[in-house]
Symmetry: C2
Subunit: 520 residues, 2 copies
């Protein structure tokens, strides 16, 4: 049926009245709640089969010849010895293939991390990707107040923003260090903020085993005790102290979470050239060895507990020793490590919008965009530092957060792939319009324009003249307005009052206990 | 032989003295002249075989059912008719497979575009990629003077910068419109600037057939008459007026260059949603039809003349009609069109660092980085608009140019692939260093640190404190200093004085002729 033969009545029915169209437009403009990205695109292969096999062989050689150190944790040494590793003091060597076979026997290829709002639960691994905020900065930055030490208020503000940003799929962990709170109590306040102010999944404390236990206890209040023991509700990162060391702090947290069946990422923290060889291939072999040893340990502690292959690897400047970001080598390591994780059969966790810039300028954006886009094309399952990072993880930026989140949304649309339905092929449109005409008013455009094309919340696409009239704002200036509006509009996700009180009681009791133990 | 057994004498020999090391460092720090990128990485596949086949079939259907219009050029209509196309008035329809078989019979899969400095000649097509400056902006922007109409001085300044920037491989064409020069004479001044101030390859005028002839004549002065007839010395772009129209201006330039055996890109200029369907799949089918028709015509005019598959496709904002850049759909179209070009067997030309931003801010950088990186991963052979673009091609930026060029250099390093030599595998380093130590002083690092890791000329990786002491500059402020220093340091590449005079004489004669003909 060609356009001309559609009866007027039917046209009206199909298109609806003006008010209805306005309502549809409003609906289409609303951010759709997408709990994570189900990828409809392939992953980019940087290294070929032969190269990956070589890297794997080198990692096995490192584990066999040099081995790893597991420091100040006799229990872990016992576990590894019992499993057949060669333990000499704290140095542990593994026969080639040992770690791999232990991991592949029981480590899940993907798993669900539950959010307290079930609609926000995420699947980690397989063909899925999610964006998570940055982790660990002691400072925050905004245009009004500049760079300053972070406070609990900042932590809560970022947690609110992450709740609202549709392409941020995770509440994260230490989104900034609340330095106004005593170190020994911070984990209680951070976990409470994640559980109260945001209904997306979150990350648990790793700075001491008892803090990890507190995180589990608080999760049990909100999720229910048996639910937590049977399901993954907490995601945590154990950093390997590259080269080739896992220390008691990281091992302590790893053991707690693994025993509670919660997710643990084994993520070597590498400033390449200082903490690994000064080459991509050497860095890859070392980090793969480190990850194999760590993931193996998780399966020895609790077979089936979700373990994740992580990497944080940025080259240092060989002139100054400073870490550098958005670099060719950083992307090469990430693409290659993602392939190693797929071959191993475990989820992969790596970095997103990293930058060494101190401010939300072009450097911040160039570096962030390149690594973030590489992460998506690499098929990283859990993209940490996807939003907010400034100054090489030392600073969390307010403007940077909403700017990065807009790029996350663009990449989420990209990862949705190309629609090749008959409607999307649009042959009727080409037939209708023909040479030299335009498509704006054609039937096909009318049917599809509400949902067509990604809409940036940050980009200014106006004419120069209109942009000038509107104040000639640079992107960081628009971002400054936007995060303030968002915080003003924030509404906390509902939490059962009884659970809230139980959280309060737990925090009060644990705070007293911790302070008492510190007083002694 | 382990490190400890290397005799002192030999160590000294290997490392050289202090002065020698300093010389080596200076050598390593010098930008290596890389005339283009020989890719050591694979291309990213977005669409699968089945999807690409469907797009190709749709393009053939468009050519058969709807056809293309070739306007105001009876000669072209005759050529197409003689080749078997169905010509009705200016509408030309092609049987499925006709264009493809004509192209595949004689169109080269790659070719050399010669530069007047043979060391700067580039290979276009195959596994090669090059970065070319932006094209066409009537305005320029810098931090000191803001946005203003471009002049010949600006054109010459940009041509000098492009000569100096190591990761810009081409002098480009209309790097900005010298609006202080009469329209009818601009092409003479622009071509002269490319030939005098820059020794990289350049693009020819396409605004009228006689201007294309002037470009060929000027190239013949510098390259030699027979050399130009036998080799590609000029690269030019014929934009299809999407949808499905080639007009007399573009056809005129296309005929001149093809007859002289010079390279012609057939590049539909598409603001998707207005000039093509509002979907990626529909846009791809239309643009492929347009390119097939244009490349077929080139081969009918001169079999074997280098034809290039081009695309410029950015979605419009469906709210305001404004073009948008760095978008998911723009990248999807580029990845897919690159695959279509490879299947056809011709070189592919597409866009790089596009942005709608008016200033060198974070928006400019995010949008530019995403599309530029996509272009490299897509395997685009000729990346136009790789540097300088602001305001959706309306403005050429001074700061933006040096900022983008730094990212081109990063991507050039990325495209060099991962070194998997025994030395790069660095197993000796891991054995030497072991757990918990650092690599900074080890033998392997000593041997490799001069050449390891990409060095950005724009990124600030300093500490916050040092950055503050040094003036707390944002990237665009550093860029402002850098382009001024570069222009101050510029030295013109040598040109034989006799050739220079011949160019002067030609320009003087043609200027008189053109002005006389305009006077009548």
């Amino acid at each position: 049926m060609s356009r001309k033969t559609v009866p007027k009545e039917k046209q009206k029915q199909r298109r609806g009245g003006r008010a209805e169209r306005r309502a549809q437009r409003a609906e289409a403009a609303k951010p759709t709640p997408l709990p994570y990205i189900r990828r409809q695109i392939s992953t980019y292969s940087l290294l070929d089969e032969e190269s990956l096999t070589q890297i794997e062989a080198n990692a096995e050689t490192i584990l066999q010849e040099t081995g790893m150190e597991f420091r100040d944790d006799p229990e872990v040494l016992e576990i590894l010895k019992a499993a057949g590793a060669d333990v000499q003091g704290e140095r542990v060597r593994f026969e080639p293939g040992m770690c791999r076979s232990i991991i592949q026997a029981t480590s899940p290829s993907q798993f669900i991390q539950h959010a307290r709002n079930p609609e926000r639960s995420v699947t980690i691994g397989g063909n899925n990707t999610l964006f998570c905020p940055s982790f660990g900065p002691p400072f925050v930055h905004d245009l009004d107040r500049g760079r300053r030490y972070a406070t609990l208020e900042d932590f809560e503000n970022f947690t609110r923003l992450h709740h609202m940003l549709p392409a941020v799929h995770h509440s994260g962990g230490v989104v900034c260090e609340p330095v106004d709170i005593d170190v020994s109590l911070r984990h209680l306040h951070m976990t409470a903020a994640h559980l109260r102010l945001n209904d997306k999944p979150f990350m648990g404390a790793v700075t001491a085993p008892e803090r990890s236990e507190d995180t589990v206890a608080m999760a049990k209040i909100v999720f229910g005790k048996s639910f937590v023991e049977e399901n993954c509700c907490i995601y945590s990162v154990s950093n390997v102290n590259a080269p080739l060391v896992l220390d008691a702090t990281m091992l302590g947290a790893l053991k707690v979470y693994a025993r509670h069946n919660q997710a643990v990422v084994v993520s070597p923290f590498i400033l390449a050239g200082a903490m690994s060889p000064v080459t991509v291939a050497g860095t890859l072999a070392q980090l793969f060895a480190e990850v194999l040893a760590g993931l193996c340990l998780i399966q020895l502690i609790r077979p089936g507990a979700p373990g994740v292959f992580g990497t944080f690897a940025s080259p240092i400047s060989l002139q100054t020793g400073a870490p550098t970001f958005g670099t060719p080598e950083g992307m090469q390591i990430q693409f290659s490590a993602a392939a190693l994780a797929r071959r191993l059969g475990v989820p992969f966790h790596s970095v997103g919008a990293l930058t060494a810039s101190k401010v939300p300028d072009a450097q911040a954006a160039y570096e962030s965009a390149m690594q973030l886009q590489a992460a998506v094309l690499a098929g990283v399952n859990f993209i940490i530092h996807a939003t907010g990072c400034l100054e090489g993880l030392l600073t969390m930026g307010y403007e940077k957060t909403v700017m990065d989140a807009d790029r996350c949304a663009a990449l989420q649309a990209f990862a949705g792939g190309v629609d090749l339905s008959l409607e999307a092929q649009a042959m009727s449109a080409v037939r209708e319009v023909g040479p030299g005409a335009h498509y704006l008013g054609c039937e096909h455009t009318q049917r599809n324009f509400e949902t067509a094309f990604f809409r940036s919340t940050m980009a200014d696409n106006k004419t120069y003249e209109q942009w000038q009239i509107d104040g000639a704002e640079w992107e960081h200036e628009r971002a400054n307005r936007i995060w303030k509006h968002m915080l003003a509009d924030y509404e906390a996700p509902p939490l059962d009052a009884a659970l809230g009180e139980e959280l309060d009681d737990f925090m009060a009791r644990r705070s007293r206990e911790i302070q008492a133990s510190e007083g002694t």
